[in-house]
Amino acid sequence: MSAEAISENPAARDFWRGFRLGVPVVVASAPFGLLFGALAVANGFSVFEAVLMSAAIYGGASQMVGIELFGARVAPWLVVLSIFAVNFRHILYSGAVGRRIRHWPPARQALAFFFLVDPQYAEAEIKGERGEEVTFAWYMGMALPIYVCWVSEAWIGATFGGLVPDPHALGLDFLLPIYFLGLVMSFRNRPLWLPVVVASAIASIIAYNTVGSPWHVSIGALAGILFAAAMPIRASEEPS
């Protein structure tokens, strides 16, 4: 098929436009996809379970939190609750993107929401705010390469991660805290970010040393959330 034939079909053109937006996300997320696979196996997952987790949950930060807590022998329901807590932000994405794809058939909407990861949300919002239509072809054109690569990386990382001779020398046991710190920093433009982080840090350290793990996660998180909710309203009116 020639390039002209592709551009004459609006759905194909939209698909490839979306695809191009997906490529940088694939590159940026690749190390984390591989790392997830390797760490999942190190924390007691089988290769199949690591791949299944990437395929079924499809949310990097929450998967990392899941395997970290699983490896720490935390109660299963608390692992699930923590995955849910980390992904809770998607509720806001969903509410925003939902308005832009309301005209799609319900089955397509239901499918699209499965792929609603952070960059997908960001690009859909940018496209919508420009006044352009968010089409199904465009959306899936962006989503599919990211998803397929993410799942493949879990398999590659899980298969070959076990071959690392000395995990401690390579710092494998401490890569997750560094990664989580990066995620914490990525939210620093949100209102009340610093006081929330300080409140959660103090509460989680105290809880860790008194009540003990794994409760420092729930207690620390709750402290930050309640602190944000209790602050004077003014700050929350700024766009986040």
């Binding site: 890569l175 560094i178 930050g224």
Partner: protein, 98 residues
């Protein structure tokens, strides 16, 4: 069914609910209460902080310096840059400090 599978499937169902739920629930409300919104906004930073702070408190000098350098890089650089720098500092310091 094994515990791991149970965790993965329950986590997947709840994650999908967060992705479809905002559209189904929040779109019915004209207005979200500002305090609820402020609380929701704080969720990711609050949860993720608890996975760093206690670990940092019990970490050795190599780990602390790696975290510090990575944190500084994240002020300017991308996520990848901060992560790779932190990992590199950690590996080098572990060889040196033993």
């Amino acid at each position: 069914m094994s515990t791991t599978l149970w965790i993965i499937l329950a986590g997947a169902v709840l994650t999908y609910l967060t992705r479809v739920g905002g559209h189904l629930v929040l779109s019915r409300f004209e207005h979200i209460h500002p305090r609820v919104e402020a609380g929701l906004n704080a969720v990711p930073a609050a949860v993720l902080t608890t996975l760093v702070a206690p670990v940092a408190m019990s970490a050795g000098p190599a780990e602390l310096i790696a975290l510090l350098v990575a944190g500084l890089v994240s002020l300017r650089g991308s996520m990848i840059a901060m992560f790779l720098t932190g990992a590199a500092v950690l590996i080098v310091l572990r060889q040196l400090l033993v």
